[in-house]
Symmetry: C2
Subunit: 235 residues, 2 copies
């Protein structure tokens, strides 16, 4: 049912190299499997266990949990570091600011670098269905749903979190999709598609209005896929 299972076990590598920029160009053009080449910053950490490749995944997992449990406002780099068992300097070293940890924690759920190609590269007439099924799959998985709910809640109540969603996550995700589309106003179209999926998530998982809250995910996909298909492929 789910297109992926990003929440089970340690957070998977997202294929994103650590990024420190905040402008619109940050992240675009990053190779999907570019190896991180961390610059030394802050205090060096002491052991390989603390600073090795496993540490980055542990930090991301801890960040997801912290943002989910505490919300954007109350989560802190210090608390994330403590939960991951690393020095706060290592969090800064891998991700930069709290905003950037937040963006990376969101992207663990969506893995845009690998998921977007999979959605857009199949037969063009199935793009709406693939996108709908992927999105519902991410939300149906409780492990990815909790941090996503936290993100949506934070973005609606804190401008800083809204800015992260706007600047990093949506831009990267939607621009990747839009770049593959052959319609007028592709970003506008991709945003309309995203708006529908976000609205469904809110009514189904947060407000829990019936019958949508209990509907078979496939019944939702069946209705929504033609909508996304039209937005993404029909002029």
């Amino acid at each position: 049912m789910t297109a992926q299972d990003p929440g089970a076990g340690p957070a998977p590598a997202t294929g994103q190299s650590p990024e420190t920029g905040t402008g619109p160009e940050a992240g675009s053009g990053t190779g999907p499997q570019a190896a991180p080449a961390p610059r030394r910053r802050g205090r060096p950490s002491r052991t390989a266990e603390e600073s090795g490749p496993g540490a980055r995944a542990r930090i991301l997992e801890a960040a997801r949990d912290q943002f989910a449990e505490r919300g954007y406002d109350k989560a802190s780099v210090r608390g994330i570091a403590r939960a991951a068992g690393v020095d706060p300097a290592l969090v800064h070293h891998y991700f930069g600011s709290k905003d950037e940890v937040f963006a990376a924690a969101v992207e663990v759920s969506f893995e845009p670098a690998t998921v977007v190609p999979a959605i857009v590269s199949g037969p063009r007439d199935g793009i709406g269905e693939r996108l709908a099924r992927f999105f519902i799959g991410v939300w149906e998985n409780p492990a990815s749903r909790a941090p996503l709910l936290a993100i949506v809640r934070s973005a609606l109540t804190h401008e800083a979190a809204a800015a992260v969603l706007r600047t990093f996550v949506l831009r990267r995700l939607l621009e990747r999709i839009a770049a593959e589309l052959d319609v007028p106003d592709p970003k506008f179209r991709a945003e309309l598609a995203a708006s529908h999926m976000i609205g469904i998530a809110i009514l189904r998982y947060v407000i829990r209005v019936e019958p949508l809250a209990s509907a078979d995910p496939e019944a939702i996909v069946a209705q929504v896929a033609p909508t996304l298909q039209r937005y993404l492929t029909e002029s």
Copy 2:
């Protein structure tokens, strides 16, 4: 551009009689223009100015402002009464609990008793466009947008507010629409339509992702109307 202007001047009467039930049957079957027949409850108020027909509209307007400014959690019947210049007992008298004041304050923006018939009673092939234009119109109007944003924020962060939205507002609004539809699963279809409009509101007015945030409202209506039309009329 806007289908109505609910925020200018005193809040219009919504045609809803005060309701005290919280079960699923609350509100269904209420006549659209049933005159309120308030039961005496709490302290009687002292003057005609304080308790006359203008008081109910003033309370609703104050409630909208209080919920918009303070959020669901921090708004109180006492604070609403103070802002409206009435005794808190009069708020209870007209509306019952804080939840019910909240529901009534939301409904001032949507006026389901008058708006839903106007949307569903015109030519069937224009229902998607009328619904899209109405919804965008309500959100484009800053006077109705502020309390709606507060409601969405509150519903996403407080289960009590989510329950009000689920139990009162969405049920009344969507059941009225669904009752007029001639498709399978009309409530499910109405909820899918609502989810799209809510998602657009969030991306456009809260997250403010571009180009959606700056798009001409008519460009949104042009894209979204066929989606709503399909959900509401095509089996």
